[in-house]
Symmetry: C2
Subunit: 420 residues, 2 copies
C-alpha cells in the first residue's frame, strides 16, 4: 500500500455554503483514494511518512467541467466578436490544425501541464473531431495526472471546408475511438455532439442510441446565445425549445452535461431538473462572447445540478479561481438586476470543487472513498488586517489569486505539481 | 542629460479605440520626459546606450485613478457584504490602525512596491484621515517611482468611534498637511472629502473654498449604491441629486474626479459633462460590493471624461489589467441588457493608460513632453494560433494576464521594476 499523508489546515466544502476546517489536521489517502481527515493521526498510519505543510491551506483541487482543449492557443483572443462569428473566424480554422498529430501533441502536453499547475486535476473536456488527436489528448492528460472525461467532437454540418465529417465518418470514427481509448485508466470517453447547429438529427440519434447501449455520459452546449438559439429552432422544426433537439435523440439523461444555459427559461430549466441534466456555468465566457449572465442562483434554488467550467477559449483563463469569481460576479450582476441573492464565496467554491463529485460517482468534500485531489496553498506572505480564519483565508485566496500561491498539487496517489 | 532609450515593439494608444505600433522602434526619454517614438534612432541619440528588449511589447504604464491605500491589507475580503455594512465592519476599523505610523510605513512600502510591479506608475489615491500616515504614503510612493495625487481623507461625521475628526481638526490638519507635503516632487496633494455621508456641509464648503483659492484637484465618490444615495438625500435636503452635495460646496470642477457613478442618471451625467468632472469607472468593485454595472459606453458616448481605477479594496486586485477586463465586461453586461455596443480592447486600454493624461496636463499615448511611464511585456513563451500583430498580442496579454509577463517598468527617468 502507498500512502499520501498531508498535514496542514485542511479546508473542504462538504455541503453547499459550508466550509469545514481542521487546523493542524491530516488528510490521508491510500493508493490514491481518500481514507479520511483527522485532527490527530490515527495509530494505523503512525509509521507512514507525513508531508508537513505547516500552516498552509490544503484544499480540494478543482474540476473544470467545460473547456475546449484545441482552443488553448487562442485563449484570450478574438473576444470582440459575437459567438457565431468568433467560431467561424477563429475557432474552426484553429481546430482544423489538429489533423496534425505533432501539433496536437505539443499543445496538449502544455495544456495538461498548465491544468495541474493551476490546481485542476479533473476535467470534462472537448477535443476536436480528430480521433488521433483525441487519443493524444487523453494520453497527455493521464500522464500529467488529470482524470475525467474527454470527448471526440462530432460535427457533420456547418463546420466549414476544413472542419467537418460526413455522418458516416463521424459514426465510424466515434466507434473506433471508443475501442482505442479503452487503454486509459483514469481518463474515460464522453459522447460530445458539438452542439445542435453542428450535428444532423441522424448523427444525434446515433449518439443517443450509443449512450444508452454503452451507458456513456454526454456533453454539449445549450442556450448560450440568441443567434444560436434561433439557428437551432430553424434547423429543428420538430422542437419547440432548444433542449428538445437533444432530448428527442436520446441525449438528455442524468449523465448529460450542458454548458451555459444562459437563456434557458423556466420550462427548459424544469426539463433539466426532471432529467437530472447538469448545468455547467461559465460566467467569464458568457460575458466575453457577449452572451449574457446566466441565472446561477435561480438554477440552484430550483434544485438543478450546477458545476463550473473555465470554457477555454470562450473563457480567457485556465484558472478555476477565476471561474469561482465569475460565478460570484454573475450572481451579483443578477442581484442588482432581478434582486436574487448573490452566491457566497463558500457556495461558489463548492460549485468548483464538490458539486462535480456526483458526476463522477463520488461524494462532496474530502469524503472517504473519493479519488485524492488536493492542492496546497501558501498565503503567509500576504498582508492581513488581523488574524484570519481558514474560511477568510480561502476568500482572500480566491479574490487575490496571488502569483505562485499553489505550492503543490496531488491527484490520485501522485504529487503532480510542485512549485520551485 | 540622462537618456532612457528602449527598443522593442512600441505600442501606444494615441486616440480612443486606436493602437499605434512601431515594431523594432525606439522610445526615447530625456531626464524622464518623452522625446519621441522613432522607427530608426535619430542621429542625435546615436552615442547613448539603448536597452534592447528584442520583440517584447513596450507599453504605456497604467494610471490607477481610484484606490484606497489603507485598505490594501484587506484586499479580497468581506466582499459578501453590501457597501454600507462593509465600510462599518471592515474598512473603518482597519483605517483606524493608521494612527500608528509604523503600521502605515510597513503597509505603504509594500503597496508602493506592488504597484510598480503591476505596471502602475501613476495614481490618484485615498489615504486615511491621518496626516502623518498620509505623508508616509506620499514618501513611499515617490521613493518607489509612483507619481500622481494623494489625498488625506476628510471625514467629520459617521466614521464611528475610532475614525473621525471634528470639523475643526479636519480643517486644521488639512492645512498643515498641505504645508508639509510641499517637499515632494512628483507626488502632489488632492483634496479628498471621503464622500458626502462622511462630511458636514461646513467641512465641504471649507474644502471647496480651499480648492478654488489654491487651485487644487478634488477626488470623491458618487452614486455608487442605492443605500448610499438615499443617505445623501436625507443628509442634504437642499440637494435634489447626489452631485449637488458637491457642487453646492464648490467641489464640482474640471479638476474633480468622481469614482463609480453607477446610478448617475441623465441629469447627473450632464452635470458632470458641463463641469468637466472626470468619472473613475471601477467595474470589479461595483460587482464585488453589489452596487451595479456602470454604463461606461453611454458615458463615453455622451462625451464624459472616463478613466479607470482598481478601487482597492472594493476592488480585489491591484493589477490594472484586471481593471481593463472589468471595463470590457461591464460594457458587455450592459450590451446584453440595454443593447449598447461593448468596449473594444483598444478602447478599454486607452481608458487605463491614455485617458488619464488630461488630468495631469499631458497628452494621450507616448506623446513628447509626457513624463515617461512604460512597461516591457514579454509574451514569447505563450502558445499562439498563428503569428500575431502587436494589437493581438496586447489583447491576449490583457485577457491572459500571465504570471511574470511584466519584465521591467520605467517611471520618469528611472527603471523602477525589473523582473528577476
Amino acid at each position: 500500500m502507498a500512502f499520501t499523508i498531508l498535514k496542514g489546515t485542511i479546508l473542504s466544502a462538504p455541503t453547499l455554503g459550508e466550509l469545514e476546517a481542521v487546523e493542524g489536521g491530516y488528510l490521508v489517502a491510500e493508493d490514491g483514494v481518500i481514507r479520511g481527515v483527522y485532527e490527530t493521526l490515527p495509530e494505523a498510519y503512525a509509521s507512514e511518512p507525513v508531508e508537513d505543510w505547516g500552516d498552509a491551506l490544503i484544499l480540494q483541487s478543482f474540476s473544470d467541467m467545460h473547456l475546449h482543449a484545441p482552443q488553448y492557443p487562442m485563449m484570450g483572443m478574438g473576444l470582440d466578436l459575437p459567438l457565431m462569428d468568433w467560431l467561424q473566424t477563429y475557432t474552426f480554422p484553429l481546430e482544423a490544425n489538429y489533423a496534425d498529430t505533432g501539433y496536437a501533441r505539443a499543445v496538449y502536453r502544455q495544456l495538461a501541464h498548465d491544468l495541474v499547475e493551476n490546481g485542476t486535476t479533473r476535467v470534462c473536456i472537448f477535443s476536436s473531431l480528430h480521433r488521433p488527436a483525441t487519443l493524444i489528448l487523453m494520453e497527455e492528460l493521464e500522464r500529467a495526472g488529470v482524470s475525467g472525461y474527454v470527448g471526440k467532437v462530432n460535427m457533420d454540418r456547418n463546420g466549414g471546408e476544413h472542419l467537418q465529417e460526413t455522418t458516416e465518418e463521424s459514426m465510424a470514427e466515434t466507434l473506433q475511438w471508443l475501442e482505442e481509448c479503452q487503454r486509459f485508466q483514469t481518463v474515460r470517453p464522453i459522447l460530445t455532439p458539438r452542439f445542435t447547429p453542428s450535428c444532423t438529427d441522424r448523427l444525434m440519434a446515433f449518439l443517443g442510441k450509443l449512450a444508452a447501449e454503452r451507458d456513456l455520459p454526454i456533453q454539449s452546449h445549450l442556450s448560450e446565445n440568441d443567434a444560436e438559439i434561433e439557428t437551432v429552432l430553424k434547423l429543428c422544426p420538430d422542437c419547440g425549445q432548444y433542449w428538445e433537439s437533444y432530448a428527442k435523440r436520446g441525449l438528455w439523461t442524468n449523465r448529460t452535461l450542458m454548458a451555459h444555459c444562459v437563456w434557458s427559461d423556466e420550462r427548459e430549466r424544469k426539463a433539466m431538473k426532471d432529467a437530472g441534466v447538469t448545468v455547467v456555468h461559465c460566467g467569464d465566457s458568457n460575458w466575453n462572447i457577449c452572451s449574457g449572465t446566466a441565472p446561477v442562483r435561480k438554477m440552484l434554488d430550483e434544485g438543478l445540478k450546477v458545476v463550473l467550467g473555465s470554457d477555454v477559449a470562450g473563457g480567457d483563463n485556465l484558472s478555476m479561481f477565476q471561474a469561482v469569481i465569475a460565478a460570484l460576479r454573475a450572481s451579483k450582476v443578477r442581484c442588482t438586476t432581478d434582486g436574487s441573492p448573490f452566491l457566497t464565496v463558500a457556495e461558489a467554491w463548492y460549485l468548483a470543487t464538490s458539486a462535480p463529485a456526483d458526476f463522477f460517482g463520488e461524494k462532496p468534500g474530502f469524503a472517504p472513498g473519493n479519488r485524492l485531489g488536493a492542492m496546497v496553498l501558501a498565503d503567509d506572505k500576504v498582508l492581513s488586517p488581523h488574524p484570519l480564519s481558514p474560511a477568510q483565508r480561502l476568500e482572500r485566496a480566491v479574490y487575490r489569486r496571488q502569483k505562485n500561491a499553489i505550492r503543490a498539487v496531488y491527484s490520485g496517489g501522485r504529487k503532480v505539481f510542485s512549485a520551485q
